[in-house]
Symmetry: C2
Subunit: 344 residues, 2 copies
């Protein structure tokens, strides 16, 4: 198993990426290819006491770095020698089993579609982070790659998410729900009403475990393992969860600093808060798989540290080993509708 | 000032509604008309020790009650002698200055539009709850009344929300933001991109204080006073905030019950938690105004107790006194676009 990592992507590149790669190589026993400026990567290794390339680690030199705010499609086309494009090129040619990047989400999406290509029959690739929930997390598909969707896209998201959660998160019959503005079957705009019927039919045929519409309030309590969403409302869901989470943490901090009594309480709660924080910590969940691409691609969080990169590599390994891409390709006939290809 | 209250609407009707009405009458000095079954209301008053109708309180008898799950439009048309329809009829005829109901949201929306009518030129009425934020709350307009919107609807929401927040929440130049899937101007689907331009133009003309796109994560921290949203994603935002809030409270409770030390910490924190809970408590914020209707209508929370009803009456009074309906009518020319009337 060989995982390709964009060593120049993210806020803490290359140092934390290189450290995460070393950690993954040691802990998971996978081979790693780092893409990026060779001199920078060798220096990062040297700073950590490695004068030679450690066993199981390779460097694929790439002289350019795509900026986080660069235009996605243009940068992929114009920066052929960037760490991201070189990495995706390697993946496409079979130079590794999966690709991990903490760089620009837009460039990773555009590059994966252009260079690695979608699975035949899949209309759009979706970005699918794991939301923290009471029941060990739920996959949100899509969280913003596809702002405009058709019912068919949502049907495909349901299948892809279901295969991923089964194989990588180890849940035998993942509960699939549709993010909507109410629980009842008739809720939503035409897109969501049509998608509901497609998911219901797939559920009745026993191909997915469709549990119906989901409301924003159900998700944190673990009402579903897979949350199917159009990219617009999925993005609202994801960022609202993040925002409210940060808000609570902020308020807690303020509250515990208010008096001597509250400071004592904070001391007493230290251990408990630690496990709670762990539940909310994205570094525990790894990155977001890009589902629908013909080979495994993982988007790691932009602020990833070594630990988060190591989690993302584990996830990339499980993604590749699970045969999810094959599952999708083999069942593509069930994911087609008579409808139009693009959103109206 | 006379406020009409649907005494049969909500989970705790009529007892808590009647109590809330009495509380409002005493504390705010407003006159109240209760609509509902006279015998039930008199019994509720008697149970609380009132053998006569207290001064400032009237009863408008209505023999029917619209069920929470009834079809909105059909129930409004068919149940002419329901507490909701009787109340709206009174409001329409000038038998009171504002109407408060904790009953079915759908029926209240349908009934208000059919019986009280929209302000001339307003395309759709919007339901606008106050979201708890670090800066004393933000008005979300719309939260689900209009699942499909046009850019013009969103423009009208921005103006209406701005007038309401200024007059009822007392903020001189309310910051108006557009809920979108990213901060940059080009973000979103065509609906949100077009709405952005309309809001930007209104902002440049000095008619609203447009602060740009909002992401879900900004809202709890108080990035805007008015959050303009299509009803679908507004609903996702509202319910996600509720859900994550409940989830945190649930997790806190679990954490504080885990050990002797944590139980002691809970005792030490009791006072601090109380003020935090107050910030999140919907009974503090009253209900959600229905903006765009030609007279003030407030939707109180379905689970309202006396305190929440009293807050909703205060809000209804401020809504009526503030002249918001007049503000909207006088500025209607700025809220028109050349575009189509209905969502495509």
């Amino acid at each position: 198993m060989k995982i390709i990592i964009d060593a120049m992507g993210g806020d803490n590149a290359p140092r934390e990426i290189v450290r995460g790669a070393l950690k993954a190589q040691t802990e998971l026993g996978v081979d790693i290819v780092l893409t990026g400026r060779a001199e920078d990567l060798l220096q990062a290794l040297k700073d950590d006491g490695y004068t030679d390339l450690p066993r199981g680690l390779e460097i694929a030199h790439a002289s350019q770095v795509i900026a986080m705010d660069a235009d996605p499609t243009a940068s992929v086309r114009e920066q052929a020698d960037s760490s991201l494009v070189v990495g995706l090129g390697l993946l496409a040619r079979g130079g590794g089993d999966a690709f991990v990047s903490a760089g620009s989400t837009g460039a990773l999406l555009a590059g994966s579609t252009l260079l690695v290509k979608r699975i035949k029959g899949i209309r759009r690739a979706a970005l699918s982070p794991v939301l923290p929930t009471k029941k060990g997390g739920a996959l949100l598909i899509d969280c913003g790659a596809n702002v405009e969707c058709t019912p068919e896209y949502l049907l495909q998201f349901a299948y892809m998410g279901s295969y991923y959660v089964k194989k990588v998160m180890g849940r035998q019959t993942p509960a699939v729900g549709l993010l909507n503005n109410g629980a009842e079957e008739h809720k939503g705009d035409p897109l969501h009403r049509e998608a509901y019927q497609l998911l219901k039919t797939a559920g009745e045929a026993g191909r997915i475990n469709f549990v119906g519409n989901l409301e924003g309030r159900d998700i944190a309590f673990g009402a579903a393992d897979v949350v199917v969403a159009d990219g617009f409302s999925g993005n609202v869901l994801l960022k609202t969860m993040e925002g409210v989470g940060l808000f609570f943490v902020d308020q807690m901090k303020e509250m515990f600093m208010q008096s001597t009594g509250s400071k004592l309480a904070a001391l007493l709660m230290k251990k408990h808060f630690k496990s709670f924080k762990k539940m909310l910590d994205y570094t525990e969940y790894g990155g977001a798989p890009l589902l629908g691409i013909s080979k495994p691609v993982i988007k790691a969080h932009g602020s990833s540290n070594a630990r988060a990169i190591c989690s993302a590599v584990r996830q990339a390994r499980d993604f590749a080993q699970g045969g999810i891409t094959e599952d999708i390709a083999q069942n593509i006939e069930f994911m087609k509708t008579a409808g139009e290809e693009s959103p109206s």
